[in-house]
């Protein structure tokens, strides 16, 4: 029911029909001739609107009731679905890395900024030997997190990417959840792109087992 209502609301773009607080702004027509344009220029130059703005600033300053976030001392809280610098997650059960090196993130990346090297290790398992994302090229679209079959690569909340070079690489180890964080149990699951949707268990078809 709720969803239907929302859809209706968004589909009906004729705002005047909705009984709401919308009203039309009184905007004068654009001047058509040279004289009209001249008059408009004069009006804009000498109305002193600049001081209106300055007055607001001054008023708020002397009130000492500041709403501005004092960045970088203060930071805004970020939504759990925010797509900032990538993280590599570990498995809860064993603390081992979730990434299996399938290369789908590399394939799907539309800005072509992910590269991955793999090899077969001593236990004949696929090992990721190197993994890099060029954050200078990354557009944080979230496709890599969405395509990841293991929920290994996700986005995190780290959005401070200031760098002295346009190319700014982040490597596998930098993204990987530190072991002490795993031990403390503070690894956070990402709720955004790629995360398991609610009620997944009910939707999945079960495979019969002969055991």
């Amino acid at each position: 029911m709720h969803n239907e209502h929302v859809e209706e609301h968004f589909n009906n773009r004729n705002v005047t029909e909705l009984d709401s607080n919308y009203y039309m702004v009184d905007i004068a027509d654009y001047p058509a001739d040279g004289w009209g344009k001249f008059k408009r220029a004069l009006k804009r130059s000498f109305r002193g609107e600049l001081f209106v703005g300055l007055w607001v600033v001054l008023r708020e300053m002397i009130k000492f009731d500041v709403h501005t976030v004092q960045y970088p001392a203060e930071k805004m809280p970020i939504g759990p679905r925010y797509r900032a610098v990538h993280e590599m997650k570990r498995l809860w059960e064993s603390d081992t890395e979730r990434c299996i090196g399938c290369g789908l993130c590399e394939k799907i990346c539309i800005s072509n900024c992910i590269r991955i090297d793999t090899r077969v290790d001593e236990n004949s398992r696929k090992e990721v030997t190197e993994y890099s994302i060029n954050l200078g090229r990354c557009i944080f679209c979230g496709y890599c997190a969405e395509v990841c079959p293991e929920l290994a690569i996700t986005h995190g909340g780290e959005y401070e990417n200031a760098s002295d070079q346009r190319e700014h690489f982040i490597m596998y180890q930098d993204m990987l959840t530190p072991l002490d964080k795993m031990k403390a149990g503070t690894q956070l699951e990402f709720e955004g792109f790629g995360a398991i949707t609610p009620h997944e268990d009910e939707r999945v078809k079960k495979t019969p087992l002969a055991y």
Partner: protein, 828 residues
């Protein structure tokens, strides 16, 4: 075979009578799903996906033959049900770890699972422990295996190694209720699948075959993977560079799969070689010998200046045939301009042989090719260690026997267990070296049309025949009567009692009798088996297309001219069609393009061979050159085809064209010469960029162009010389490489790990006091060398093989020109 019309899904298509429906459909772009079928091999009937309805009856498209007016429907409600059930069965217990599978992205299980819309699983069986196995150059993961048996089929029908077979899986039986509840074909297919896995025929732990890797190439899933490729790249990351293999004269179409080397190194690297396995089969050299490129950091201007100096000083250019046609033309143009002598002994021998041959045949080139040999049903190989000289010729020989119910005859002095292993219908004759003329005379004797054959040849052949009486044992059936006691019911008393009865029966009886038979002395001379004629007669039954493969032993034979003329006679007066194996990659191209000289002068420039100044793509010369996988150009193959090849990886140094430009020939790129290749020799004026390199769905080859087989002047003289009884005896050496090795280029490849040395058969080693690894001195009238003994189980008999793939061992020095020589071998 005649053309017929059949109807598939309402589309009228033309095909050959007796063609499998699946092939007919594929040739006409009609899709019928199929996993286990391999074009050019016999149908396996493992997957049953190709179910279709032909004239209202369900048949398997891969083994049902087309008939005139047949109406085929590729799907029906029942077929769709079957196919979906089959795919579900394939997915039972298949690991869901596509992310770490090397086949992911090009997996037929993935594709067909999607195609059939399998979104839920209804079947289950308890899995068995399926651990992955290292078979050496191939890695087998039974957990991923769907037992389509494509590997087994390819190995048996195409390659001829017969190294793989199905083995027992040891799984629980399927639940009884499935028999009722499941679609019929899906159940039958599952029942078979659930009982088998793939294993080695030899029962050993490691694969011991000719290591072609075709099994891994045809594997639809990730069960068989080349060990070197495991987890190194994904299918979708690799860029395919269409090319032609540069290792032997077969000129197989390959694609170099390239990708950046690593995150740190963005230079392209070849990760693997792929082939269109439905239409072309590779050998181990083609598949694994791909990284022979010459890595050069930058242009070496000093060396280049020295090279130009050397060219001014030189009067001879000595080269090998591992060059492109364009480079050969550049050399020829340099000769025309500066009068260099062009020396290439192996191409010169082949050139002379071809010229001698054309004096009788009237054509510049032999008439047949390997493609046609695949379709023949009686194939003779003479004068070549076929499995290592040209692996594709061996596949053609094997394929003609397995698929066309053909037979083969193999004449060669070196005993070869691999050839013997091809099957029951191959007959081997191990004659003495220098007796190749007798072989060709025997072929004339057995197969030529005596009516048309020149009369002196006929009478010469007749001189070998005599009549002799032999005692033969025969088994006849004789009727005898015997008295047996049987228990019978007495009808009156109703009791059992013993009665004597007469019984007649047929009993086999051995008798001996004298018969007059024809005695062919040629057979004795060649050392053929006593039962040779008898077996041959059996093998010749129902044969109608004959192919003869002649090889490099003949070109350097002291009487090569006579051999060439005999071959021409065979081609002219018998049903045999002739293919000659060019000695090296582009020997045919070089032989056609270059005017070659016999003797070298005082100052020699060597190209890929040692000279006073050496240009080398092996990286060991005075100036570096690009290897074949770094070049654009064309190569002339055994199939008389001018195949284009492309540069798979970059090259930063100088090439031959740069030198030619400095010397006054003007061409921006070496491929500018492609259209200038001599028309008088059968080449065409085609631009390199216009040359295609692909196969059609019906297997039609669109690669480069075919050489025109031009007419040659004949004198009408068809006389041939008698052969002498001269043969080599004693300890014999033979100049041949092990399978997968051809030149120092294959030796450079990391994945080809053959050790160089003196190759002796296990049989020879056990008889002699030599042991594997011993250092020996081999001495022949022409020279000597010291090397280690390598034990080789791919040959048997007493002849010792000296390879040429390792430039550190100068085997050529021991031979005058013929590939066999007598030698003494002693330990050092």
């Amino acid at each position: 075979m005649s053309k017929i019309t059949i109807n598939i899904d309402g589309k009228e298509i033309e095909t050959q009578e007796g063609e499998y429906i699946l092939n007919a459909a594929r040739a006409n772009d009609i899709f019928i799903p199929a996993i286990c079928y391999l074009t050019r091999c016999s149908p396996t009937l493992a997957c049953r996906l190709c179910l279709v309805e032909a004239d209202g009856k369900q048949v398997y498209a891969c083994n049902a033959k087309s008939k005139e007016g047949m109406s085929v429907t590729t799907s029906s409600e029942n077929i769709i049900k079957e196919r979906r059930a089959i795919m579900e069965v394939y997915d039972v217990n298949h690991p869901l770890q596509c992310g770490v599978c090397d086949q992911s992205g090009e997996c037929e299980l993935q594709n067909y699972t999607l195609e059939m819309g399998v979104d839920a699983q209804h079947y289950a069986v308890k899995d068995v422990n399926r651990k992955d196995i290292d078979w050496g150059h191939i890695h087998y993961n039974p957990g991923l295996c769907i037992v389509c048996e494509r590997c087994v089929t390819a190995c048996k029908d195409m390659i001829g190694d017969n190294s793989l077979k199905t083995v027992a899986r040891g799984a629980d039986a399927l639940e009884a209720e499935y028999k009722e509840s499941m679609p019929k074909d899906a159940y039958a297919m599952w029942n078979k699948l659930n009982k088998s896995l793939i294993g080695l025929t030899s029962g050993e732990e490691m694969l011991d075959c000719t290591s072609c890797g075709e099994c891994a190439a045809v594997c639809p899933v990730g069960a068989l993977v080349d060990t070197h490729f495991i987890y190194s790249a994904n299918a979708w990351e690799l860029k395919q560079i269409p090319a032609t293999c540069g290792h032997c004269s077969a000129g197989c179409q390959i694609s170099y799969d390239v990708k950046h080397t690593s995150i740190d190194n963005t230079d392209e690297k070849i990760y693997r070689v792929m082939n269109e396995w439905n239409y072309v089969s590779l050998c181990g050299a083609g598949r694994y010998g791909f990284d022979y490129q010459n890595e050069v950091k930058a242009k070496d201007t000093a060396a280049f200046a020295m090279a130009l100096e050397a060219f001014k000083k030189a009067d001879t250019i000595k080269f090998t045939s591992t060059i492109t046609n364009e480079e050969a033309l550049v050399l020829q143009k340099l000769k025309e301009k500066f009068g260099y002598k062009l020396v290439n002994s192996e191409a010169k021998a082949f050139q002379t042989f071809l010229n001698d041959y054309s004096e009788i045949s009237g054509t510049k080139l032999y008439g047949y090719d390997l493609e046609a040999t695949h379709n023949a049903n009686f194939v003779i190989s003479v004068g070549t260690a076929i499995k290592s000289d040209n692996p594709n010729a061996r596949y053609a020989l094997n394929n003609s026997m397995t698929v066309n119910k053909g037979a083969g005859l193999y004449f060669h002095p070196v005993k070869d267990p691999v050839i013997e292993g091809l099957g029951k219908s191959i007959m081997t004759v191990y004659h003495a070296p220098l007796q190749e003329e007798a072989v060709l005379y025997l072929i004339l004797d057995l197969f030529a049309d005596k009516e048309r054959l020149p009369s002196d040849v006929v009478s010469y052949l007749a001189s070998f025949h005599s009549q002799k009486s032999v005692t033969v044992e025969e088994i006849i059936k004789e009727e005898i009567t015997e008295i047996v006691k049987v228990m019978k019911k007495n009808e009156e008393s109703g009791e059992e009692e013993e009665v004597e009865e007469e019984k007649k029966k047929m009993v086999p009886k051995k008798i001996t009798k004298e018969v007059i038979v024809d005695d062919n002395r040629l057979l004795d001379i060649l050392g053929a088996d006593e039962k040779f004629m008898e077996e041959l007669e059996k093998n010749l039954a129902k044969k109608d297309s004959f192919a003869l493969i002649a090889g490099p032993d003949l070109y350097t034979h002291p009487n090569s001219r006579n051999l060439a003329r005999l071959l021409a006679l065979i081609e002219k007066y018998s049903a045999f069609e002739l293919t000659m194996i060019p000695t090296l990659t582009n020997s045919l191209g070089v032989a056609l393009i270059c005017e070659l000289d016999e003797k070298q002068g005082s100052y020699t420039i060597g190209y890929n061979t040692k000279g006073d100044f050496t240009l080398s793509a092996l990286g060991d010369g005075d100036l570096d050159m690009p290897a074949i996988n770094q070049q654009e150009g064309t190569l002339t193959s055994i199939n008389k085809r001018v195949n284009p090849t492309n540069a798979a990886i970059g090259y930063n140094g100088y090439e031959l064209n740069d030198i030619a430009n400095e010397l006054g020939l003007k061409a921006e790129l070496v491929i500018d010469y492609t259209k200038m290749l001599p028309i008088s020799k059968g080449f065409k004026t085609k631009e390199f960029d216009s040359l295609p390199n692909r196969y059609d769905n019906d297997g039609t080859e669109h690669r480069g162009y075919l050489l025109e087989n031009l007419a040659a002047a004949t004198s009408g003289d068809e006389s041939v010389l008698k052969f002498s009884d001269e043969k080599l005896e004693g300890t014999l050496i033979y100049m041949a490489n092990p399978v997968r090795q051809f030149t120092p280029f294959t030796n450079k490849a990391t994945n080809l790990d053959e050790v160089s040395g003196v190759y002796m058969s296990e049989e020879f080693l056990s008889k002699s006091d030599f042991n594997e690894g011993d250092t020996v001195r081999v001495k022949s009238p022409s020279g000597e060398l010291v090397a280690n003994i390598v034990s080789d189980n791919k040959i048997s008999g007493d002849i010792v093989l000296l390879p040429t793939f390792d430039s550190k061992i100068n085997s050529e020095a021991l031979f005058s020109s013929y590939r066999f020589a007598t030698a003494s071998i002693e330990k050092v």
